[in-house]
Symmetry: C2
Subunit: 152 residues, 2 copies
């Protein structure tokens, strides 16, 4: 466990919004939302969640760690695929209930487990009150079956 301890959020809104104390506001499940963009071109790559340990490890090592809600475990992104995320910039928002990571992706540049560069490959369109998805045509840069095998 990394040593960084996060103090509890200040009840003073001005301190929370303008102060220099980092007191991430984890939700009732102990998680905070993390938005991840590419440090090169700014592309939105993924949205994930961190618990305090994942956030502390990310700050300590400079490599992005998350909490996997599906596996219920700490998740060092890239451990299986090799696509580690090197954190160039980490920010929080006004009320400190989200973080933003700007990263350089190692390896074949795929962030999504489907093999694509970004998880956001489908556009939502609406026709006459029916919403549907349109794939933007982005192709997998790796074969998930090969990379993840039975882990998938």
């Amino acid at each position: 466990m990394a040593d960084t301890i996060f103090p509890p959020p200040s009840p003073d809104k001005a301190v929370l919004e303008e102060g220099a104390v980092f007191s991430p506001r984890f939700d009732s499940s102990g998680l905070i939302t993390a938005v991840v963009t590419d440090a090169g071109d700014g592309m939105l790559l993924m949205v994930a969640y961190m618990n305090a340990e994942a956030l502390a490890l990310t700050l300590r090592t400079g490599i992005a760690h998350y909490w996997s809600r599906s596996r219920n475990s700490l998740w060092k992104k890239g451990e299986t695929s090799g696509n580690f995320q090197h954190v160039v910039d980490l920010r929080t928002d006004c009320d400190q209930d989200a973080v933003w990571l700007s990263v350089n992706v190692e390896g074949d540049q795929a962030t999504c487990h489907t093999g694509r560069r970004s998880c956001f490959y489908r556009k939502v369109v609406e026709d006459d009150g029916v919403a549907r998805l349109e794939n933007d045509g982005s192709e997998p840069v790796f074969d998930p079956a090969t990379v993840y095998g039975k882990l998938k």
Copy 2:
């Protein structure tokens, strides 16, 4: 209430991840995470939450609507400040538990209630196991006290 109805998520992972059916996975509070970037330069502006009604209204009107967790009410962003968000592109991610809005901001271009363009104006830095925040120097483009008055 907008008419768009979202079907329940498919239990079939392939349908959820590769299909054309938009079935947003709202959490146990009925909310989905929304990441908002500027359609012009891609800047990350804010992270917010939508319930089904807010999402349907956003699709219907092309103007971003959210659910305010602090006020516990539907929130048409810009209603007070005039900084409405015109949606240029709306996407969802692989497992459909987040949406991404690319928007043009009306008015004075401030998205954050502190008067700044983005909510992410503070960088997290760590020295010897102590994490602290550094303001990136971005200045408010409006005075929150004037714009929001007692609403703040």
